[in-house]
Subunit: 432 residues, 4 copies
């Protein structure tokens, strides 16, 4: 049978017909080495320490995004003419959008200062990758088209909007998937209704939502808002990330001096750790496995700090994350360092701050300072003009950014630091 | 708040009250290093190559089994007196039943010939483990009680039955969980109805199902039957396992001679590979990570066979699994070896057989040759006698064992081997 | 917006595009007076006395059947050429298949000896109905085509098969819907997988299931099997029906003599009750409301038997249904009558038998004595021949007809009748 | 088996143990004639004209409310001492809270100006009802306790709060149930998490939500907000109600003069229609059936207006509902009346206004002018003080009342009235 049916916990059946060239392309891309690598990168990194079920990979999610894109294009296509090329670019673009993620995605990006989007483009454009060859086999310019799609230069622009904007297929999939997997449920919304309500403003080359879909999109934005607060910015997850960052910093400090027993000189992982340039092929050797394996090794390292931090991560003995008011004073930080040091810990690794401002998305929706193409537009009545959603919806305006700073310290000194916060910061310094 | 609420995709909320000693014990066991290790062992091993969503761990499943046990004891307890000790032993036993699993569970067990049940007992009894210390802290004999529970020597016997039998909390959880995660759906059945129908034959010290539950238990058995055929014995999964077994065999062959670049002498993994004795502490260092990491390394090994097999696994270029009649002749095997060899492959690693008889459970239910305590008993009418379910239910008798042998070969020679099977074996040799 | 989106608890969104003529036809048929009448006829009659949630109407179900047909034709159409006419006939046929149902469907049919299928045809063909006019407005021969579809004379025959056979869109919808509404869950199966597996044997003009769908169809048949046993033939439902039948029989006896206070001479209801001919327009005035209203009135009738039976139904004081062996002797019936009479009840109305043989479908699947076109065919391997499913599947052969006779009596005498059964009929006479 | 298991599409199994007196009481109340009557009153009245699946009854809902109350008391009881009496009063109160509803609930109440709450109390207190006798059989003061519970005089007050407040078991059930049945999905929220988060402020005798439950309660309030906008105040539902109100008004006008053919003098229905006093027994004879039956009869009445309005309702040929600004001028109404009259319709029956202010609940949450006991309180941090939710939550403050007036007219003149509105009322007069 020339049909590939993927069973999916969120979308049920994702069906591809290998006798259709556009579907065959998707099948070949899925089977490529670079896409298969996404099986080894978790979608939510360390979130499984908060929601133990959050063990799904970017592979599964990426298939889902491609499926949502296919549905969106089918439904849009029944109202508007959509070219075959737009469909191919949209679906392949959706499938491959996460190709450049590295081990544990966002945390590692932050520490080693790179952007997975850059790597996605690089992998797609690099002629040595299977993905590049498959894309070129279909259309010689397809890699370049995807690269411009990812940079929002592709025309028609609505395709980029479906791949990456405030209402894109990426978020549409991950809210439902992360909700299901975490069991947290906050991300549930009515996907089918949203998809049925999508329309294309052909003059503006822009997606909008027809008036009957307003409530469903409000619900989608609320789902995102809650998922941010309850999952993506969860105290325990952020504290686990703090421990990982400390461990990576410590390893980075030790390795050049040969102070760690567990070295693998010249390996892509060590190159990354030391901030050295990696080739595409080297980068593609990296995945969550490397980190997980090293953490286990480091937990038996001779360096006490590295061993301790790694063991904490391995056995889930995380830091405590305590809320502080955003404008904590210098003297507060000095006192906090003192407490940590007196507890026998090096503040460089055991006193971490977690600032909401470091997170790329806050779960809120705001039109301020944002590319207009990435915003959500809704029809204000049947056949009426479209407007940006926050102009129309009080509910959307009611979802304010949730910005809170936190300090993460070992539980051994958490009570003392909490007391300090209460003293210094008054009633607003919430301690939980 | 002294309450721990785990969110679970299958059971929704798993709630533990830390102010209650029995719940506190469960919390402490969950937080132990040995139990946290289960996060790093996938429940379904390589099944994610067939059903990409099957990425969940034994940690998540074990929590679920404990929860089902808690519900079962609560509901049973409203009809029968159940001692506090039975409850503690049942719940802790359910939680820890998978503690002894190694990397990729069943496949590795098969290659290295050990039983995870033995390791579960050893970990529970070994005074150096956190789990043992926590159990002893609650009741000095608790480790021994669990060990006897796992060996079906514990009294009352119905507690063992709930931990391990044809209708145990383990299966009750994994059918639903594997169904949800794979998206295959075949394992859905009405858990709540089954649990409500459980009763205790106090005279026989045996669980039975009251008459209103018969249909629900039939449905449960069918769920198991289909999950076996569609998931646990799926052609692609079995072929992925064949590739892994070949890779492990090749590594085992190379390592003693120092022929592999990627050696870690003295490591628990290498000890396991070489069949050397490992201590409990060494065994507990092992998890899926080790295998995943090695496979990546081996894929760049100088040995062509090891590199090829590892790359196939890494990029999901699996063997083809072809059905053969169980009684294939010597000459058939000789011809098959010939084809594989002519294709440029060493039959020792590239011609694998997969016999249904190697699988511990077939998905069918049969009372023949089985410990009576592990069978399912149902009430034949309200207040009437109980009988073993296959005596009562035609549906159960209709579920026959599904035994099929397969040969797994590289896709490069699959057509030729298929042709050979068709020639030699006639109409019954199915090729799919 | 020219789009009609029906929200459905089973299928989520049922979308019709009024700018497409074939969809416009469906919309017009839904809006017809005859179709709107189906809102007033419950899908499961008195089953709500067993499963209180079973309150859904044939309107909702019929929309669902049309939707399943649309999906089936879409998916089939991606593998086989299907004419526009076949699609129209299939979808309109699916939508209207239950149009001829009367009040409380099957029970009333049985008492007044008519077939709703005859009425469906008559309503479709009668030029005075809105449905007929709408159909003719689309295609002058459409009413006749539907009539021949319902009589299995329509070509291509596979369309009839989808409307009415062992694997038709009617059952595919009602199993899921009745499952959801009753909360009984036994009717759940994987609809999408079944639909994806449908294929057309163009040579034989016959639907079959491709090999990957075998398990899903087995599951569907089991769903049907359990729904029959647990819902459609549930003891309480059948006993409620027995009370209703007695009440109708009593009313039928009283009315000609003017003995009932609550007469509406010449009304369609009274015509039906008296077995007089009704016109199509008169028949279409009837629905569940008539029966419900009369039962309330009759509960205050001067005739004690009519008042008592109606009150029992109104307040759910039903008979007890007791299993008897199929071959109960004459003397048993004589003794039972005696008991009922001694209890102060007229056996003609208070001793009812419920024979499994009276039920049109038993939930089992048997190829014996059945039109071959109505059977289920499956492919025996990818690209292999198709065979009738019971030849292939042990599971299907294992589902045997469930035939049990019951006697229904007032609870006041139920214990005595039960004792009689136990005495006379031995161990097999189950009493529950 | 002394156990009653109700299967429920929302809550799965509702289990009652007849050997426990408090459960036995609930079973007996369910079996009473007055409670069985709720099977014949739809939960959402005419909403099935908008969401065809909305066919469920108050019987099903009331069972659900009792179940939610049982769960709430169980969970609360694990944190706080709750007396046996409070449990009995809470559960019986929850079960019976809708007992006084009449045909089509709110619409009929509005036309005939009575309150179902008054009837609930009257039925509970009237010694002639089965419900009263059952309650007194358990505790002679139970009817009075329930009456005071419904009037918020019962102590402890938290029990009343669970029966009727902004966060009560009634709403908790109906949001989920109406969501499921309509298929609209907007009312889904995480019931279990809300229930787990309930706590009792024993000093204030008041329920509050512990801090971890804040998001879940926000989600619950949003669910309510959307259900109001999308279901309970849906344009089509409101227009169906307008037609019904006109029909009832016309019947009320005709009957005293004997102008309707279909009279049933002295019947409870006619008493209600004529505004005459009915006894409890007479009131209890009324249900949806009466209205449905009369509408069918009236559709064949000699009076053209009554026949037309009834036929519109019967065949779902409803009015069009058009939004108008709240402060429409006198001259607007004069012109609208003119248009309707010129179309051949009597404005008294064919020009209806639907004011948002007529609806008891708007879906928004506001603490202004509301009994403090009915508000929602949340803990502001673990162990911190509790505050009224709108003080704490921007999301809650963001949900503003949705007040829109509408005019309902026959579709024959709808375009002309729409044009009038656009002319007179400017851009804000939305027409959809």
């Amino acid at each position: 049978m020339p049909q590939r049916n993927y069973r999916d916990p969120v979308h049920n059946i994702i069906s591809l017909d290998e006798s259709v060239p556009a579907d065959r392309l998707i099948v070949d891309l899925i089977d490529s080495a670079e896409f298969q690598r996404l099986r080894r990168i978790k979608q939510l990194g360390l979130a499984m320490y908060t929601y133990q079920g959050a063990e799904h990979s970017r592979f599964t999610h990426s298939l889902g995004v491609m499926h949502v894109m296919t549905r969106a294009l089918e439904l849009l296509g029944s109202h508007h003419p959509i070219s075959e090329e737009s469909r191919v670019v949209g679906r392949a673009g959706a499938l491959l959008h996460d190709l450049g993620h590295g081990p544990l995605s966002h945390v590692v990006e932050k520490v080693f200062r790179f952007h997975h989007e850059d790597w996605t483009r690089r992998i797609v454009l690099d002629r040595s990758t299977e993905v590049n060859q498959i894309l070129r086999g279909f259309d010689d310019q397809l890699p370049e088209k995807l690269a411009s799609l990812y940079q929002h230069n592709y025309t028609p622009a609505f395709v980029s909007q479906l791949v990456s904007s405030q209402l894109d297929c990426d978020r549409m999939d991950y809210l439902l998937r992360d909700s299901l997997m975490t069991g947290a449920k906050y991300g549930m919304y009515d996907l089918e209704w949203v998809l049925h309500a999508l329309r294309l403003d052909e003059a503006c080359d822009r997606i909008y939502v027809e008036s009957k879909g307003l409530f469903a999109v409000e619900e989608y934005l609320q789902a995102r808002y809650y998922m941010f607060r309850q999952v993506y910015f969860h105290r325990t997850l952020r504290s686990a990330e703090a421990v990982l960052i400390s461990a990576l910093n410590r390893a980075r400090f030790l390795i050049p001096d040969g102070k760690s027993r567990f070295r693998t000189p010249g390996s892509p992982f060590e190159k990354m750790l030391l901030g050295e340039e990696t080739s595409t092929a080297e980068y593609l050797q990296l995945d969550d496995t490397d980190l997980a394996f090293r953490i286990k090794e480091w937990s038996r390292d001779e360096d006490e700090i590295l061993a301790d931090l790694s063991t904490r991560l391995l056995h889930r003995r995380l830091f405590k994350a305590i809320d502080v008011d955003a404008g904590a004073s210098e003297s507060f930080w000095a006192s906090a360092e003192d407490i940590v040091r007196r507890g026998g810990f090096d503040p460089q690794y055991y006193l971490m701050t977690d600032r909401a401002a470091d997170i790329p998305y806050y779960g809120d929706y705001s039109p301020v300072g944002v590319d207009p193409k990435s915003l959500i537009y809704v029809e204000t009545g049947t056949g009426a003009a479209t407007r940006e959603i926050s102009e129309v919806s009080e509910v959307v305006r009611g979802m304010r950014a949730y910005r809170i700073d936190r300090v993460c310290v070992p539980s051994e000194v958490a009570d003392e630091v909490s007391a300090l916060i209460r003293e210094n910061l008054g009633a607003n310094g919430r301690v939980e």
